[in-house]
């Protein structure tokens, strides 16, 4: 089954909510650094979890352009399509 931005975004939100420190009211428009209070290392570690779930590698330079959960989902979908 091929992933869509919406399905990947939902999966990211679900994965994030498994962490009790993450605010409960997040959605696709939530900003990863500002709204989730993640530092640079936390962002990279969290992305690694998503990578394993979706069997994709997100190069670190792509993270620089990602602000929201939907941005990350769109990036992952484009990487999956490219591969």
């Amino acid at each position: 089954m091929s992933e869509t931005v919406a399905s990947v975004s939902a999966l990211i939100v679900k994965t994030l909510l498994a962490n009790p420190k993450v605010p409960r009211d997040i959605n696709g428009s939530s900003k990863i650094v500002e709204d989730l209070a993640f530092d640079s290392l936390a962002v990279m570690n969290f992305v690694m979890e998503i990578e394993d779930t979706l069997d994709v590698s997100v190069p670190l330079d792509r993270l620089a352009d990602i602000r929201t959960i939907d941005d990350l989902a769109a990036c992952i979908v484009s990487l999956k399509q490219a591969s």
């Binding site: 530092d39 290392l41 990279m44 690694m48 590698s57 670190l60």
Partner: protein, 400 residues
């Protein structure tokens, strides 16, 4: 708006660390080293357990003498970069000495260890290549990846299977793949399973760079690091290291058998656009290298000391990493507790490094110690005793 506004969060974090009259842990002054193991801090003789000076060679009489003689003979600086006027006979001699020590054909010497990683990694991995970095890599490796233009992929710390999985995802993708690992990781002192990474490298056709900054002079029969200890030196394409740990001076290097390394001299910006090492540092480094080669007993004593400290801290009910290595870290849960613990250790005459997240793995604050071959058993026992006293005062020692 001030140009410093973006650092308000950092300022608050620093204020929290020094609240209650504690010291700024990033501003400790060693007024004077008295020996390799004792320094004067706040006017008191303090045991040094956080210097990375593994063999104690920063105070080597032979290295000091060599530095003095070199300064008298050649002056105190080169005033130029390696590709301009900054390559003197001594630089070539040091590169030849390192080639002989590592049994490799080529060597580049850099002005610091940080620049060695920056200059090697950024130049080796180009725009169409991939860098595969251990998640717990040192800042110099991450910064090297940012200075270059390769695509950067992290794999789980010390997990060769995870690396293999990520390389498999890149199958069929054009571009070279450069794996970067460290011999001993600087925060927890854990050792890379180099043979496992070498096997992945062989199977996938990737290139392998090992940063042996903390392991050269420490591991391997001849002190060449983890690759030597694991018998896989032929699989490591590039070894990067530093003079500012076991060799006790400053500077860095990359050694390799690949003839292309000489071309890197002409495209590595951290090599090309900075002044080269001064003569006295080169001379001291060569003298220290001679000691490292001729005194294998230093490595034996170092590892004995590492085991003594590791076992002592565990017996005192403190949580450490699993392996006894020259870096032994006590793992705590709370930053405020770690800061108070660190301050109290210094009150009682013990200097260690306070390492705080996000510079540490898994968000845990660490009291990071490094051991020396020149520590006496009594000094190690005293350090353990100070740790035990503070842990008791703070009520954080687990049932021993």
């Amino acid at each position: 708006m001030s140009i410093f506004s973006k650092y308000e969060g950092l300022a608050s974090a620093l204020s929290a660390v020094t609240a209650g009259g504690g010291r700024n842990p990033f501003n400790v002054v060693i007024e004077k080293p008295i020996s390799s193991t004792v320094g004067l801090i706040e006017g008191r003789e303090t045991l040094l357990f956080g210097t990375n000076n593994y063999l104690g060679l920063s105070q080597s009489p032979a290295a000091i003498e060599a530095a003095v003689e070199a300064a008298k003979a050649y002056g105190v600086g080169t005033t130029g970069s390696r590709i301009a006027n900054g390559t003197q006979g001594l630089h070539r001699q040091l590169e030849e000495r390192l080639c002989a020590f590592f049994r490799r054909r080529h060597c580049m010497v850099f002005s610091t260890g940080y620049q060695a990683n920056l200059g090697t990694i950024s130049a080796l991995a180009g725009k169409d290549d991939y860098l595969l970095l251990d998640a717990d890599s040192h800042a110099s490796i991450y910064d090297g990846s940012r200075l270059g233009h390769a695509q950067v992929i992290r794999f789980r710390h010390n997990d060769a299977d995870d690396l293999h999985k990520r390389l498999r995802r890149l199958e069929g993708t054009p571009g070279s793949k450069l794996i970067v690992v460290e011999g001993i990781y600087s925060m927890m002192g854990d050792v890379v399973p180099m043979a496992e990474f070498a096997a992945v490298k062989r199977e996938t056709g990737a290139w392998l760079l090992a940063d042996e900054a903390h392991s050269v002079g420490v591991m391997g029969e001849h002190g060449r690091g983890v690759a030597e200890a694991d018998g896989v030196e032929d699989d490591v394409d590039f070894v990067v290291g530093t003079f500012s740990k076991s060799l006790g001076t400053v500077g860095g290097y990359c050694v390799s058998n690949h003839d292309g390394l000489d071309l890197i001299r002409l495209c590595s910006r951290p090599y090309m656009f900075t002044a080269s090492l001064p003569p006295e540092v080169i001379a001291a480094t060569m003298a220290a290298l001679t000691e490292l080669e001729n005194r294998p007993e230093l490595r034996v004593r170092l590892m004995d000391n590492a085991r003594r400290l590791h076992a002592g801290l565990q017996a005192a009910g403190l949580r450490t990493g699993p392996q006894a290595s020259p870096v032994v870290s006590v793992i705590l849960d709370d930053v405020a507790v770690a800061v108070a613990f660190w301050n109290r250790l210094l009150d009682l005459g013990g200097y260690v490094n306070l390492s705080l997240p996000p510079a540490t793995p898994d968000q845990h604050p660490l009291l990071r110690t490094s051991v020396m071959a020149t520590h006496t058993p009594e000094q190690i026992d005293r350090a353990v005793e100070i740790f035990a006293v503070v842990a008791g005062e703070m009520g954080i020692n687990r049932a021993a």
